[in-house]
Amino acid sequence: MTETETETETGTPGPGPGSGSGPGADTGAGAGRSGVSWRARVGRRLGSRGAAFWYFVGPFLAGLVMFTYVPVAWSAFLSFFDARNTVTPAAEDFVGFANFASMLTDANFLRSLWTFTLFAAIIVPVTFAASLGLALAVNRVRVARAFFRSVFFLPFACSYVLASLVWKMSIFTGVHYGLVNTVLGWFGVGPIAWLNGNDPPWFWLVIATLRLWIQCGFYMILFIAALQQIPEHLYEAAYVDGAKPGRQTFWHITLPGLRATSVAVLMLVLIQAYQAFDEFWNLLPNSGNVPYGRTPLVYLFHTSLGTVQDLGRGSAGALILALLIALVTLFQGKVLGFGKPEGR
C-alpha cells in the first residue's frame, strides 16, 4: 500500500489527499484533519517508503537477529566443540560431528523424541477439532456472543506454569481430597495418583487437558475470523441447489473455506507441541526428568544445558530438534498446501 493510498483512505472526512497543512486543513473536521496532517507530517519526515519500511521493521529485525539468529548460529558453532562450562571453546576442543553422533545414539534422547511425537499426535488433532467445534458453536450463538468468545479465549492469558500449579495442587491432586478424586470418591472409585507413574499413564490426561484449556480459545478466535470470511452467498446458492444445512454444507463449503486457516492452525499447534517444556517440568516428578514422560527440551536441560553446562552436546541436541521441527513442518505444509492460494 503506497503512502498516497493510505492518506486517501483515512483522509476522506477531510479535504483532498496530500494537502495536510494546506488551507483545506484549516477548515476540515477536527478528527479527520488531525489524522491527515499527522500522517502527512510523519510521511514527509520519514522521507521515503524505504525509510518507513526500515523504521517499522528495523527494531523487530534487530531483535530477531540478536535474540534468535545469533544464538542459533552460536549454538551451531558450539555443537562442533567439546564445550563444557564455556561459550568460547578453544580450537583444540573441536570434535567434528561427535556431539551429533552422541546425541543420535543416546537412547534417552531418542525416547524423548518419541515422547513428543506421541504428545503431538494426541494434542494436534484434538486441539484442531476442539477449537473448530468451539468456533462453530460460538459463531452460531445469537446472544452474548462477545461473552462466549471472551470466556473461551481468557485461558490463553494464563501462563503454563500457573495453570500447572492449579492442575497439580487442586484439580488433579493425587490424594483423596483432590478435586477430581473427591468426585470419583462419590462413585466409590479410589483416589488416583494422576501424576505419578506410568501405569496407566494418567499424566497424559492432565497434560492434555491443561494444554487444551489454554490454547483452544486462541485457535477458536482464528477460526471465527476465518468463518466470517466465507461469503454467505455460497451457502445461499447451495440451499437453492438443494443442499441441506449441516453436514453437507460443512464438508463442501465451510471446511474448504477454512483451508488456509486450518493449515496455519495445524502448523502452529504442532510447533508448540514440539516446544513443550513448562507443564512437563512443573507437573511430572523430578522436574520432568522421568524417562517415560520426558520431552526433548526437558532432557537437554537436565543433562547438558541446566546445572551442568555441556554446551556442545546440548547445542547438538537442540539443533537436531530444530531440524526435525523444520522437516515435519515442511512436510506438513507440502501435504496440506500451505501458502497456496485458497481453493474456492
Binding site: 567439546d82 501424576l195 516428578p285 541446566g306
Partner: protein, 433 residues
C-alpha cells in the same frame, strides 16, 4: 550432583517453585541484589570511595525456613571490610548459578554450591586451601573430600543435611510393629502393614524413590559411583536385586503418591497422610513442633544384604575465580564460614536444623544433642555418604532412569543396569578420555 541434584531439593530446605510470601521477599532481595550488582560492574563502586572496601555479590539458593534470608543479610551487613550484597535466588538455583558464572559482570563473587569437575576445569573456582589450613583437622573427613579435587580444596562446607526416614511411633505401635526395619524388604512389609488407605505407608516423594534409591543402593552395597579406574563403580548384580525390592514397594500400593507437597516439605507427615516419610534434618523443628514426641527416625535400610545409608546433603561456599575482587571475596568467605563461629552456629541451628561442618562446633550445638536430632547426627556420622565431584547430572540421570524403568515400568533390572553402566562409562570417557 547426587541423589536429587536440583537446587530446591538437594541441599535441603523446603523452598520450592511456589511464589508465596517468601517468594515475593525473594524477588525483593533479587532486585536489591541487582542494584548492588550494577554498582559492582565498574569495580569502582561507591563503597571504595567511602573507604568501605570493595563491593561483593554473594549468592544463596532460596532457603525455605523463615528468617534465613534476614540472617544472610545480617551476616553480610556485619562484615567490616567490604560491602556485601546478598542475592537470594528462587527456583532452579543450580541452573541460574551455572549460567551466572559465565556472565562477565553479573557473576557472583562468592556463592554456595556443590563441587563439580566441570566448574574447576572451566577455571571458575578459586582454590581455598589457605582459608581452611588452620582448621583442617576440625572439618569432617567426608566434607573435606567432597570439596577437594585432585588435591586442591575448592569449597568450605557450610551445613550438612542428613537425609533419612521419619516415622510415627504411635502408628507403629497400633500396627504391632516393634521398631524400625533392618532391611529394605522389611521396610516394604512394614509400609504395606501401615497402609490403611487414608493413611499411606510411606512417602518416598513423587518419583516413588526412583530418583534417589539407586544412589543409596550403590553406597549400601559398599560400591561407589566412580571406581578407581574411572569407570562406573556399581556394575554389580546385587544392584538388580535391590532395585527389585524398590519395584515391590512401588507395586504394593503402600506409597503415598500425589501429595500436594514435595518430599522436602514435612507437610505430608504433619497432615497425617503417611506413617513414614523420606525427609532431612532441616524439617526437624517443624516435625517436633507439629507432632511432639510422636516422631522417630531411621536411616535408609540396607539393600540386598548391604548396610544402612544416610545421604549427607547440604551446601558449600565457593569463590568465583573470575570475579573482580577475588582476594576480597576469599577474605569474606573465610570471615563468615571459617572464623565467625557464632554465625555458623546461628545459620545451622536458629532456623531449620543443620549439622555444622566442624567437629568442635557439633559439640556446642545443644539442639543436636538430644532426641531425634541427636539420633540424626549419630546416623549421619555412622552411615553418611557424600557426593562425588566427578559425578555429573547426566550420570545421575542414567541411574535415575535405570531405577524409574525398573520400578515404575517393570523393565528387566539386569538390562537396565547394563545400560546405566554404559551411559556412565561413556560420560566418563568423554571427561577423562
Amino acid at each position: 550432583m547426587v541423589a536429587s541434584g536440583k537446587g530446591k531439593g538437594f541441599g535441603g530446605s523446603f523452598s520450592g517453585p511456589v511464589l508465596g510470601r517468601r517468594g515475593v521477599f525473594a524477588l525483593g532481595g533479587l532486585s536489591a541484589g541487582a542494584g548492588v550488582l550494577s554498582a559492582c560492574g565498574g569495580n569502582t563502586g561507591r563503597g571504595e570511595a567511602d573507604g568501605d572496601g570493595p563491593v561483593l555479590s554473594q549468592w544463596y539458593h532460596e532457603y525455605g525456613e523463615a528468617g534465613t534470608q534476614q540472617a544472610a543479610l545480617d551476616y553480610a551487613a556485619a562484615y567490616p571490610d567490604a560491602r556485601v550484597g546478598v542475592e537470594w535466588i528462587p527456583g532452579d538455583y543450580d541452573a541460574a548459578l551455572s549460567s551466572g558464572l559465565l556472565a562477565e559482570d553479573e557473576a557472583p563473587d562468592c556463592f554456595e554450591s556443590h563441587l563439580n569437575r566441570g566448574m574447576v576445569e572451566a577455571g571458575q573456582l578459586e582454590p581455598l586451601d589457605d582459608l581452611v589450613a588452620d582448621v583442617i583437622d576440625d572439618i569432617p573427613e567426608s566434607d573435606l573430600a567432597r570439596n577437594t579435587l585432585d588435591g586442591t580444596v575448592y569449597g568450605i562446607r557450610m551445613i550438612d543435611d542428613p537425609q533419612y526416614i521419619v516415622y510415627r511411633p504411635s502408628m507403629f505401635e497400633a500396627a504391632g510393629i516393634a521398631g524400625p526395619p533392618e532391611t529394605f524388604d522389611e521396610l516394604v512389609d512394614m509400609a504395606v502393614e501401615l497402609d490403611s488407605g487414608e493413611v499411606k505407608g510411606i512417602d518416598f516423594g513423587e518419583a516413588s524413590g526412583a530418583d534417589r534409591l539407586g544412589q543409596h543402593m550403590i553406597h549400601s552395597l559398599g560400591l561407589s559411583f566412580i571406581g578407581a579406574d574411572r569407570q562406573a563403580g556399581f556394575d554389580d548384580a546385587r544392584m538388580a536385586e535391590g532395585a527389585g525390592s524398590v519395584r515391590r514397594l512401588s507395586e504394593s500400593g503402600a506409597l503415598l503418591l500425589g501429595a500436594p507437597t514435595a518430599w522436602w516439605d514435612p507437610s505430608s507427615m504433619l497432615q497425617g497422610l503417611t506413617a513414614m516419610s523420606w525427609t532431612g534434618l532441616w524439617t526437624m523443628p517443624a516435625l517436633l513442633e507439629g507432632l511432639g514426641d510422636d516422631i522417630g527416625i531411621f536411616p535408609c535400610p540396607g539393600f540386598a544384604g548391604g548396610a544402612p545409608t544416610v545421604f549427607n546433603g547440604g551446601w558449600s561456599a565457593f569463590v568465583n575465580a573470575n570475579g573482580p575482587n577475588v582476594e576480597a571475596a576469599k577474605a569474606f568467605t573465610k570471615w563468615l564460614w571459617v572464623d565467625h563461629e557464632e554465625f555458623i552456629l546461628d545459620w545451622c541451628l536458629s532456623y531449620g536444623f543443620h549439622i555444622p561442618s566442624r567437629l568442635s562446633l557439633r559439640a556446642q550445638a545443644d539442639e543436636l544433642t538430644s532426641g531425634p536430632a541427636a539420633e540424626a547426627v549419630a546416623i549421619a556420622d555412622e552411615f553418611g555418604w557424600a557426593e562425588d565431584p566427578d559425578w555429573t547430572p547426566a550420570m545421575n540421570t542414567a541411574v535415575n532412569d535405570m531405577m524409574s524403568n525398573i520400578v515404575i515400568e517393570g523393565a528387566d533390572p539386569e538390562e537396565e543396569l547394563a545400560a546405566a553402566v554404559a551411559t556412565v562409562n561413556d560420560e566418563l570417557d568423554g571427561i577423562f578420555g
